[in-house]
C-alpha cells in the first residue's frame, strides 16, 4: 500500500513539464482569443449602455424644452385671448356709448323740430286769429277807418301780439 503515497520523482517531472508547457500554449491559443472576444463584447455592451443613456438624456432635454415652450405658448395664447376679450368689451362699450349719444342727439333734434313746428303752428294760428279779429273789427267799425289808419292799427296790433299782450286785449 505504500506505493499509494510514495512520490515518484519522474512523474513529478512529467507533470510539471506538461503543465508549464500547457500554460504557455493555452495562454496563446485558447484563453487569449476567448478573453479578448469577451472583453470586446463587454466593451461593446458598456458602450451601448452609455450611448442609450446619452440618447435618453438628450430626449429628456428635448422633451423638457418642448414642454417649456408649450407652456409658454399656452400662456401667450391665454394672454392674447384675454387681451382680445378686454379690447372687445371696450369696443362694445364705445359702440354702445356712441349709439346712445346718437340716439340722444336724434331725440333732441326731434324735440326741437316738434317745438319749432309748434311755434309755427301757434304763429299761424295767431295770424289767423288776428285776421279774423281784424275782419270782425272791420265789420264792426264799418268802413269808418281808412286804409292808412287800418294799416297803422294792424301794425300796432301785430306788435302787441308779438309781445304777448294780445291775450289781455282779447281776454
Amino acid at each position: 500500500m505504500e506505493a499509494l503515497i510514495k512520490p515518484e520523482l519522474g512523474l513529478i517531472f512529467w507533470t510539471v513539464l506538461i503543465f508549464v508547457i500547457l500554460v504557455f500554449i493555452l495562454a496563446k491559443t485558447v484563453w487569449k482569443p476567448l478573453l479578448s472576444a469577451v472583453e470586446a463584447r463587454e466593451e461593446k455592451i458598456k458602450a451601448d449602455i452609455e450611448a442609450a443613456k446619452k440618447a435618453r438624456d438628450e430626449a429628456q432635454i428635448v422633451k423638457n424644452e418642448i414642454e417649456e415652450r408649450l407652456k409658454k405658448l399656452s400662456g401667450e395664447i391665454s394672454e392674447k385671448i384675454s387681451l382680445a376679450s378686454r379690447e372687445a368689451a371696450l369696443e362694445r362699450e364705445k359702440i354702445i356709448e356712441k349709439a346712445s349719444a346718437q340716439a340722444q342727439l336724434m331725440l333732441e333734434n326731434a324735440k326741437k323740430e316738434i317745438q319749432s313746428q309748434q311755434l309755427e303752428v301757434s304763429r299761424q294760428l295767431e295770424k289767423k286769429v288776428l285776421e279774423i279779429a281784424l275782419l270782425a273789427s272791420e265789420k264792426a267799425l264799418g268802413s269808418v277807418i281808412d286804409k292808412e289808419i287800418n294799416a297803422q292799427l294792424s301794425d300796432v296790433l301785430a306788435k302787441e301780439i308779438a309781445s304777448g299782450r294780445i291775450k289781455k286785449v282779447n281776454g
Binding site: 506505493a3 519522474g10 512529467w14 493555452l26 484563453w31
Partner: protein, 254 residues
C-alpha cells in the same frame, strides 16, 4: 485476491517502461498517458472548439467561456485584484487541467491521474512557485520576506512567527496536494469497496450476494459516482481558488 491487490491494480499507476534521460529514470506510465490525453484535449480540442464556427460546437464554446469568466470574475479578480487579471490564463489552465484529469477517471479503462500523489505534488509545487514568484515580483524580495509576519504582532514574537510563516508556505502547498489526492482517491476506494461487498457476501451465500448486496451496492456506487462527478468539479475549483487566495495574500500583505 485481496482487497489490497484490487486497490493497487485500480488506483496505483502502471509503469509500462522506464527510460533514462541524463541520469534520471523517467517512467512511461498510465497516469502519464492520461496527462497526455488531457494535454491533447486542452491544446488541440479546445482551440478547435474555440476557433470553430460550427453551430454544433457553439454550446461547448459557451461552456468554456462561462467557466473562464467565472475564473476571472470570481477567482482571480477578488483575490489578486483587478489589475492582476493577467493571471487568468494560468488559473484557467490549472482549473481545466485538473478538471479534465479528474473527469478522465470516469472513462472505463482510463484512470485518474490526480489520484496520484506525484501529480498533485507537482501541481502544488507549481502553485508554491507561483505564490513566491508573485509575492517577490509585486513586493520585492526584501519586502516580501519582511512582510511575511502579519503586522501588529509584537516584536518579541518575530523569532517564533517568522519560522512558522516559512513553514506555513510549505504546508499550504502540501495541503493542496494532499487535499486533491485524497479527494480523488477516496471516491474510488469507496466504489471499489462497495463492489467488493458483492463478492464478499457472494462467497458467503451466492443468492445473498446476487439479489441483496448487488442491487444495493450498485445503487450506492451510482450515488458515489455522482458525488465523484461533483467532487471532480469542486476539487478543481478548490485547487485553483486556494492557489489564488495564497497568491493574493503573498502579493498584498495585510
Amino acid at each position: 485476491m485481496e482487497l489490497k491487490e484490487i486497490l493497487e491494480h485500480h488506483i496505483i499507476d502502471h509503469v509500462y517502461r522506464w527510460f533514462s534521460l541524463l541520469g534520471f529514470n523517467l517512467p512511461i506510465s498510465k497516469h502519464l498517458l492520461m496527462m497526455l490525453i488531457t494535454a491533447f484535449v486542452l491544446a488541440v480540442v479546445f482551440p478547435l472548439i474555440i476557433g470553430s464556427r460550427s453551430l454544433f460546437l457553439r454550446p461547448f464554446k459557451s461552456m468554456i467561456e462561462i467557466i473562464l469568466l467565472f475564473i476571472r470574475d470570481e477567482i482571480v479578480i477578488p483575490n489578486l485584484g483587478e489589475k492582476n487579471k493577467g493571471y487568468t490564463p494560468y488559473f484557467s489552465t490549472l482549473f481545466f487541467f485538473i478538471l479534465i484529469m479528474n473527469l478522465l477517471g470516469f472513462i472505463p479503462f482510463a484512470s485518474t491521474a490526480t489520484g496520484n500523489i506525484s501529480v498533485t505534488l507537482a501541481l502544488s509545487l507549481t502553485s508554491f512557485i507561483l505564490m513566491n514568484f508573485a509575492g517577490i515580483k509585486h513586493q520585492g524580495l526584501v519586502k516580501y520576506f519582511s512582510h511575511m509576519v502579519p503586522s501588529g504582532v509584537p516584536v518579541w514574537l518575530y523569532p517564533i512567527m517568522f519560522p512558522i510563516e516559512i513553514i506555513g508556505l510549505f504546508t499550504k502547498s502540501f495541503a493542496l496536494a494532499i487535499r486533491l489526492f485524497a479527494n480523488m482517491i477516496a471516491g474510488h476506494i469507496v466504489i471499489l469497496v462497495f463492489i467488493s461487498f458483492i463478492f464478499i457476501f457472494g462467497s458467503i451465500n451466492l443468492y445473498l450476494g446476487l439479489f441483496v448486496t448487488a442491487p444495493v451496492s450498485v445503487l450506492l456506487v451510482l450515488f458515489i459516482s455522482f458525488l465523484e462527478l461533483f467532487v471532480a468539479f469542486l476539487q478543481a475549483y478548490v485547487f485553483a481558488f486556494l492557489t489564488a487566495i495564497f497568491t493574493g495574500a503573498a502579493m498584498n500583505p495585510h
